[in-house]
C-alpha cells in the first residue's frame, strides 16, 4: 500500500494521460464513455488522499523518475494545489454521468471516442499544470490541455465552432508563447526551472538583473491572463464556450480557467512574492482596474446577450474579475475570497452550463427568445438554473455570498470602501441577466421549442442537481471551501517577503 501512496502525485497525472490513449482505441462511444468515467472517478480519490496528507502533515515533494530537484522535475503538492486538484477532479467526476447522453446527442458516433480521448487529455493537462513544481513542465501540460481543448471546441455541432476553436487556438498559442518566454527569462537569470528554486534565487537575481526579472513577470502575467480570460484578454472565451459541445463547455468553465488562476497565484505568490516585496511590483496596480472593468463591462455584455451560453460565458469573465480582484487586495480576507470563489464559481458555473446543456438536449436551442415557458416544461432543470443563478448573484445563504462576503471584508480591511461598493453594485447586474432568463422561462407563454421538452434523463439530471445543491450547501457549511481557502491564503501571505 505504501508503495502506491508514495506514487500518488505521479498517478494523478499518469492515469488520465494513459487513459486518454486507451480511450482513443475504444471505437464505440458508450464504451469510451464508460472508460473515461472510470478513469475520471479515480482522480478525486487520489486528490483527496493528497489533500488529507498535506492538511495533516506537510507539503508532498515527488521526484519524477527519481531525479532530485531542481535538476529533475518535481511534483510538489501543498494546500493550494491539493485544493485545486480536488476541485478539478471532483467536479469532472460529478459531471461524467451527464456526458454520455449529452455527447451522444451532440457528437457523431464515430467521433465520440475521440472526444473522450481529448477530454481525458485535457483533464490530464489541467491536473498536470496544477501538480507540477516545474515551470517548463507546467508549460508542457498547458499545451496538452490547450490542444485538447481546441479539438473539443471544434467538435461542436455548429459550424461556427470551427471559427471559435481557431480563434482560441491563435490566442491560446500566443499566451503559451508569452508564458514560455517568461519562463526562459527566469531561467536565464536564475538558472532554474523549479518554482520553489526560482523563488529562492530570485531575490539575488533581481538585484543583479532587475529588468529581465520584471519583464519575465510581465510575460508570464500576460500569457497566463490570456488563458484565464482576464478582461480585456477574454475575447476568445464567449465564442469558445458558446459553440463547444455542452459537456465540454461545462467542463472547461468549471476547471480550465480555475487552473489558469491557480498558475497565476503560484507565479505571483510562490515565485515572485517569496523573493521580492509584491508592493514594489505592479501586480495590484494592473489587476484592480482590469478586475473592476471585468466585473462591470462583462456583466453588462451578459445582460445584452440573447444566447444563454454566451450570456453565461460573459458572466464567467465577470466572475473571474472577482477572483483577480481578491488577488489584487493581497490581504487575508481578500485572498480567501479569491480562492473560495475559485471553488464556488466552479460549482455554480458547472451547474448552470450543465442545465443549459440539458435544455439543448431537450429543446434544441438556447436562444432566450425561443425558450418561453421552459421553466414549466423542464421544472427541475430550470429550478436548478434559478438556484445556481441565485448563488451567482451572491444571495445570502448560498456559496456565492461567502465569496462576496470575504471580498467585501477584504476591501474594507484594505481601507478601500469604494471597492466594497463596486463589488455589491456589480453583483446586482447578475440579478438583471439571471432575472431576464427567469422571466422568459416562467412568465412567457410556452413557445414551440420547449413545448415538448421535459426534464432530461436521470443520468443528466442528477449531476445538475448535485452541483446546484453544492452551490447552495457551501453557503452554509464552509469548512471545505472557506476553511481551506483561508488556510491557503494564510500560507501564501505568510511566505511573502
Amino acid at each position: 500500500m505504501n508503495a502506491v501512496t508514495a506514487q500518488l502525485p505521479a498517478l494523478q497525472v499518469v492515469i488520465p494521460l494513459l487513459g486518454a490513449i486507451i480511450a482513443a482505441f475504444l471505437r464505440r462511444g458508450t464504451l469510451a464513455w464508460a472508460w473515461a468515467a472510470l478513469i475520471t472517478a479515480l482522480t478525486p480519490v487520489i486528490a483527496f488522499a493528497q489533500l488529507h496528507q498535506v492538511w495533516t502533515n506537510d507539503t508532498i515533494s515527488y521526484r519524477m523518475g527519481g531525479w532530485p530537484p531542481p535538476i529533475g522535475i518535481e511534483y510538489r503538492v501543498d494546500l493550494l494545489n491539493a485544493f485545486v486538484l480536488l476541485l478539478v477532479s471532483l467536479v469532472s467526476t460529478i459531471m461524467m454521468p451527464y456526458a454520455r447522453r449529452s455527447v451522444a446527442h451532440e457528437i457523431d458516433g464515430d467521433k465520440q471516442a475521440w472526444f473522450y480521448c481529448m477530454y481525458l487529455l485535457g483533464l490530464a493537462g489541467l491536473l498536470g499544470i496544477t501538480i507540477t513544481g516545474d515551470a517548463f513542465n507546467a508549460f508542457v501540460f498547458l499545451e496538452i490541455s490547450s490542444l485538447s481543448t481546441y479539438v473539443m471546441i471544434a467538435m461542436g455541432r455548429d459550424r461556427r465552432a470551427l471559427v471559435a476553436s481557431y480563434q482560441y487556438l491563435i490566442i491560446g498559442t500566443i499566451g503559451a508563447t508569452l508564458y514560455v518566454i517568461g519562463v526562459g527569462l527566469l531561467y536565464l537569470v536564475t538558472g532554474s526551472l523549479n518554482f520553489a528554486d526560482i523563488g529562492t534565487r530570485l531575490a539575488e537575481a533581481s538585484a543583479a538583473y532587475p529588468r529581465p526579472v520584471l519583464a519575465g513577470l510581465a510575460f508570464l502575467f500576460v500569457g497566463i491572463s490570456l488563458k484565464l480570460a482576464l478582461f480585456p484578454l477574454h475575447v476568445w472565451l464567449p465564442n469558445a464556450y458558446a459553440y463547444a459541445p455542452s459537456f465540454a463547455t461545462a467542463f472547461l468553465a468549471a476547471t480550465a480557467t480555475k487552473v489558469a488562476i491557480y498558475l497565476l497565484l503560484r507565479i505571483v505568490f510562490s515565485v515572485y512574492g517569496v523573493a521580492i516585496d509584491l508592493n514594489t511590483l505592479p501586480v495590484s496596480t494592473v489587476l484592480y482596474p482590469l478586475s473592476i472593468a471585468a466585473m462591470f463591462i462583462a456583466s453588462i455584455l451578459a445582460v445584452y446577450e440573447t444566447n444563454l451560453k454566451r450570456m453565461l460565458a460573459y458572466s464567467s469573465v465577470a466572475q473571474i474579475g472577482y477572483i483577480t480582484l481578491g488577488i489584487a487586495l493581497m490581504n487575508q480576507a481578500g485572498l480567501t475570497g479569491s480562492v473560495v470563489h475559485l471553488f464556488n464559481h466552479a460549482l455554480i458555473k458547472g451547474a448552470l452550463f450543465l442545465a443549459l446543456g440539458a435544455i439543448v438536449y431537450r429543446a434544441g436551442t438556447i436562444k432566450l427568445d425561443d425558450l418561453g415557458g421552459i421553466g414549466r416544461t423542464m421544472p427541475l432543470t430550470f429550478a436548478a438554473f434559478v438556484f445556481a443563478g441565485m448563488s451567482l448573484m451572491g444571495v445570502p445563504g448560498t456559496a456565492g455570498f461567502i465569496s462576496k462576503y470575504y471580498l467585501i471584508v477584504g476591501a474594507l480591511d484594505a481601507g478601500l470602501w469604494p471597492i466594497a461598493f463596486l463589488i455589491v453594485a456589480s453583483s446586482l447586474i447578475a440579478l438583471v441577466y439571471i432575472g431576464r432568463a427567469v422571466e422568459v422561462a416562467y412568465f412567457r407563454p410556452i413557445a414551440s421549442a420547449p413545448a415538448n421538452a421535459k426534464d432530461p434523463p436521470l443520468m443528466m439530471l442528477v449531476p445538475i442537481l448535485v452541483l446546484t445543491f453544492a452551490s447552495i450547501y457551501f453557503g452554509i457549511d464552509t469548512e471545505l471551501s472557506a476553511g481551506v481557502a483561508s488556510r491557503v491564503a494564510e500560507t501564501l501571505l505568510g511566505g511573502l517577503k
Binding site: Y405, L412, A420, A425, L428, Y442
Partner: protein, 495 residues
Amino acid sequence: MLAFAPESLVIAALTIPLIGALLIPLFHSAPNARESVTLATAGALTFTVWSLLPHVLAGARPAAIDIAVVPGLNIAFSVEPLGMLFALIAATLWLVTSVYAIGYMRGNDEPRQTSFYVCFAVALWATMGIAFAKNLFTLFIFYEILTLSTYPLVAHKANGEAIRAGRIYLLILIGTSMVLLLPAIAWTWVLAGTLDFTSGGILNGKTTPFALCALLALFAFGIGKAALMPLHFWLPAAMVAPTPVSALLHAVAVVKAGVFTILKVVVYIFGIETLAYAGSGTWLVYAAGFTVIAASLVALRQDNLKARLAYSTVSQLSYVILAAAILTPISAVGAAMHIAAHAVSKITLFFAAGAIYTAAHKTEISELAGIGRRMPCTMGAFAIGAISMIGLPPTAGFLGKWFMLSGAMQTGQWLPVAIIVVSTLLNAAYFLPIVYTAFFEREPAAHAVGAEAAHEHGEAPLPIVIALIFTAAATIGLFLFPEVPHALAKLMVGG
C-alpha cells in the same frame, strides 16, 4: 394540553411552513386537498407560535440552531418580544388569509394556484426566520428569501404590467439590500465585532456620531421593504398581485418585515440611548415625517382602491419609522403597537378591496357608489379598518398613535406631534369619502353608466366574508384587549 419545550417550538415554527411548501405541490391535481394542506400548515404554525407566547411573556428567550457559517457569521435564532409579536401577527393572519385566498383564487379563476400557495408558504417561512433571527446576518438571509419568494407572487398574472412590476420589485428590494444594507451589516461587523441583537445595542461608544448617522442612513434606505421615500415605489407597483398577496404580504409580512427590521436595528443594534445621545437619528424624523405626509397626499389623488391603500401603507409604515426615530422607550412601544394595529386594519381594508373585486369586478373608488348596500358586511369591515387607519377609538389604530404622541410630547419633540396630527387629518380625508360614497351615495342607474354598472351581486364568497369579519373584529378587539402586544412591546424596551 401538551407542553413542548420552547426550543422545539422555535424549531417547529421554522420548519412547519417549509414542510407545507414541500407538501403542497404533491396535491397539485387535487385542489381541495391542496388547500387543506395550506390551512393545516397555517393552523399548525399559528398554534406553535401562540404556544411560544407564554414562555416569552414569562421572560424566556428560547434559542435554537446555531450554525457558524464562517467565523463571525452565524445562522442562529432566538425569540425576543418584538420578534414574538411579529411572528404572532404574521402566523395568525396567514391562517385568516388562507381562508380568504381559497375564496378569492377560486372566485376569480386565477391560474397557477399551486405555485401561488407554495410561494406563499415559503414567504411565511422567511417571515418566521426574520422574526426569530438572533443576529443581523440571519435576518439578512431570510430578508432576501422573502423578497425572492414573493417575486413570483407579484408577477403572478404574467402579463406585461405584472412582469414590469416584478422587475421593479426585485430591483428595488434586492438592489437596496445588496448595495446599502449589506455594506451596513459589514460595517457594523467591522465596528462592533458582533452582529447579535443585544438589549441596549452594540454600537455604544464604537464610533463617531457622524458615522452613526451614515450607518443609520444605510440601514434606513437599505431596508427597502420599509418603503421610506424615495424608495417606496415598488409597493404601489406590487399591487398588481392577487389581493391575498397584497393583503398579507404587502400590508403585513413583507412591509412589516421592513419596519420590524428598522425597529430591531434601532433598538438592538444602535440602542435607543446611544442614538438619542449622539443625536444621529434626528434626520430620520424628517425623512419619515416627509414620507408620512407626502404619501398621504399622493393617496388622496388615487382613484384605484388598491393604489390608495398602497400609498396609505407607505404612509403608515413611516409612522413606525417615525416612532422609532423619536428615540424614547415609550414611542418604541408605540411603534411596536402600531405594527400590530396597522396589520389587522390594513389587511381588513385589502380583504374588502378584494371582496369588491371578486363580487362586483370593480377596482376604482369612483365606481363604488352605493356598494355598501349590496355588500354591507364588506363595507362595514372596511369602515372599521378606515377608522383604525385614522386612529380613532375604539379601534387598534388609536393605541399606536397614542403611545407615539406620548413619547414625542415627553421629550418635547413638537415636529413629530405636528406630523402625526396633520397626517391624521389627511387619513380622514382619503378614507372617509370612500365610506361615504359606499353607503350614502346612490348606485347609478343601469342606463346611466352602462350595463356593467347594473351587474347584480351581493356579498363575496363566504370564505372571503368570514376572513374580513374576523380581521375587522380583531381591529376592535385589539383596542379593547391590547395586553399581549403591549406587554411584548414593553418587554422589548426593557420596561
